[in-house]
Symmetry: D2
Subunit: 137 residues, 4 copies
């Protein structure tokens, strides 16, 4: 198990128009989708793929979520999602992320999610040993 946080992975993209709402800024649910894409990028960068994890019959389902909205993101803004593993146990993984304004590195949003490892019947399952290749990196 990681004695401390992993290094973070970063993925950068422009805010899409559909992600805004009539308040003129990004809707608060869109950040969860960015965080999820951050986790995909984290796994991808370590030479694995979450798609492959599912093909092997495992799923990582959201169990608990905590999020802070600090400054609004806006349409067409370039944002960077930084994602890392906070800690993990035999059946759960805690991922954290920060969403930053890319040019200024100003913090817009931060969150932590506890993911629960499930097998293909939906039962809680032990994290396979082989995953330490991307979990500890």
């Amino acid at each position: 198990m990681p004695a401390r946080r992993t290094t973070a992975s970063e993925t950068t993209f422009h805010v899409r128009y559909a992600e805004t709402d009539r308040m003129g800024v990004v809707h608060h649910a869109a950040y969860l989708i960015w965080f999820e894409e951050g986790r995909s990028a984290f796994i991808r960068e370590r030479g694995w793929s979450y798609a492959e994890i599912e093909r092997e019959g495992f799923f990582l389902a959201a169990g608990e979520l905590r999020a802070k909205y600090l400054r609004p993101a806006r349409y067409d803004q370039l944002v960077t999602v930084r994602t890392w593993i906070e800690t993990y146990k035999s059946r759960t993984i805690d991922f954290s992320c920060e969403v930053l304004d890319t040019p200024s590195r100003e913090l817009l949003f931060s969150a932590t999610v506890k993911l629960i490892c499930l097998d293909d019947k939906g039962s809680i399952a032990r994290i396979p040993v082989a995953w330490s290749e991307w979990l500890d990196d």
Copy 2:
């Protein structure tokens, strides 16, 4: 096969905040999700469920779509989705819908989608005979 259109089913709900964008009105992709919910309601009203269709190993996938946006829908507005079958063939079903402002019955949006019947391998499949119970109703 239907010599003419089926009767329409109607489902009514309030526009959700997340469905708007920074233009202040409903985002154009949201209407497709309402139309899809209209098809769910159409099947449900005839005593079937699209969930059951999938459990039996069939899927209805969008093949072609045509849509007209006539007037913007707005947050909290009460809208009605009218959905009917335009026609169907051995392997495809053409659904149409209209989205109306509920109190005035003013037309906001209309669309037609051609759905293709697929089996659980993703191959084009013949529509099961039993479906005539909801297709012709």
Copy 3:
């Protein structure tokens, strides 16, 4: 200020197909949109509208969120969103919600969000006195 929680408002609807993901269950971001619709219903039931609040130049923006995912919701399932005010202060409102399976009242999801009152320049603002009509009800 409320000495205790307000009564809850309930809104009930079918899970939409677009709200599911390839895990076969509802995507974890969709619950935030349901919670938001729960808050809309809460205000609507008290004879106000969040649309009117925005017309008067105020916005309620998400500041912090905590959520627990207990059991997966599925396509076409009938779900009920129960929403209430936990507490409020001069510039913030804490809303909570539970998502239940409608027939069994089984709990699927619970969350609390701290909303921050903003004026039309995006500055933190004092909650107008008149809102006590729906805040305390």
Copy 4:
């Protein structure tokens, strides 16, 4: 006015998990959001921004849409959105797009949307002359 199509702009990204549905593939409404992001990229590449267009008091609203779904896109797949202007008139712009599997250039989806130029009161407006900088490029 363009005697023929403009050159196309391309933007490439990974399919997000939230964009899939329980059919296991990308939901049909997600392609409209990609197409919209393709239009944003088209304008951005020509040194303009759709955000700036809105700051000047103009909006481009979807009027009509035609779309063909050829092959399903899947989670984590790298896709490329090619976007160009088909034609434009004094008050409308027809954009087209193709979504391709990035490595193979296989066509997954194609669509055309007619956008209507609106002023900040929501009335149909003449396209400003200055836009020819990005419209004709």
